[in-house]
Symmetry: C2
Subunit: 224 residues, 2 copies
Amino acid sequence: MVDGQRPVRHPVGLRELKKQRTRDALLRVALDLFTTRGYEETTVDEIAEAVDVSQRTFFRYFASKEEAAFTIQDMVETHFLAELRQRPSRETPFVAMRHAVLASWSRINEAIEALIPVELHLRTYRMIESTPSLLAAHLRRATELEEQAALVIAEREGLDVESDPRPRVAVAAFSGVMRVTGRLWGQGQETGLDGLLELTQSYLDQLVPTLAGDWSARDQPPAP
Amino acid sequence: MVDGQRPVRHPVGLRELKKQRTRDALLRVALDLFTTRGYEETTVDEIAEAVDVSQRTFFRYFASKEEAAFTIQDMVETHFLAELRQRPSRETPFVAMRHAVLASWSRINEAIEALIPVELHLRTYRMIESTPSLLAAHLRRATELEEQAALVIAEREGLDVESDPRPRVAVAAFSGVMRVTGRLWGQGQETGLDGLLELTQSYLDQLVPTLAGDWSARDQPPAP
DNA sequence: GAGGCTAATGACAGCCTCTGCCAGTTGACA
DNA sequence: TGTCAACTGGCAGAGGCTGTCATTAGCCTC
């Protein structure tokens, strides 16, 4: 996660306001072009031209073309971590992560909507999942998030991440499942947020019994 | 996985032989420069020049600079899948994967040594883990491998991957742990293959009890 | 409210990865 | 040996990204 820096609305000078506008416009146009035309097929020149700024200016707002694609994702991840830190300590690590994910998804909508339509964000997520180079970046970012989550978990449980592997192991297994559901949702027909929530819950519920090794036909979940 | 295409030594014409030599030389020089000077700091021009071919020729042997970095990794993954397919069906999926990983690591050395020193491969692996763009690619490749592994598991167990989430869930959790160990080994001081094997085994043994939720102080594994 | 200060921008040159194209060279094979 | 096909080199160019520098435009003070 780069910074978690939201476009915080400092209601100061006109200069700041213009910068906000430029950045918002660049983001909106970029995501729109990415999701309609395709990420690789969209050049930075096109984005810049559509906003009437120079290419050089685009790179002053976004360190890379890729960074623009992950702006919203960055916000979501920041919210997840904040939520995780607030979970009551009586919850087991696994339960806490589960709740943090579901809660942050449910509550972040307003924050996103201030920037772009939520529907555009969902399209962006699917685009990331289906664009090889972005998927790669997404996975790398996910591991960084995992590391942070592991630190939070370790602190909750009063453990030392360096000497005790369990926080990292738990987080790794958890986010492994999250990746699977994210991918399936991206490939499926159910494009709404509800579908993603349901799928995630049902898969997470499967994790422990699945690893326990008893794969008899019982407890078979419904097909997605 | 691109193709699993090993430089199979067809002892045919002189033309093939020259191609082999060129490809091998490019690979060796590339990995050597990557690991000593750094991946981003090495240009394709430098690699080509060191082998006395044109830059254009480099791209005829490797679709990208990145592909060169993953040539050996590709072989390893192919071996893992082959090994997994051969595990006796009485083993649980988790145990089968565990054995396949350990077995493939132990046996692939000769195949690697035919191309480059194994030590160079280990250095390359660490370089991949510590280079952001390569780490991203590595993770994406890993998910592709996961998908294939899930298919093998599903077939072993007579399940349908599309309707039953357990193969993917099991593989996701398993490879999540593998990633953690790979990363820790890459960051640690223990640069040998033995260290990696030990670390992996100890972490895998932790997975099921960790997720079971009982995090009392017992069963604390040794620090890495 | 005019002028100086500084942040933001545009424009240009340049590096690096990667691709298409075409001409030249070199094994392969009759 | 001569023809054919494969391999190569070199060039041009697209696209991402960076450094530099002159110009523009808010901002702040007097």
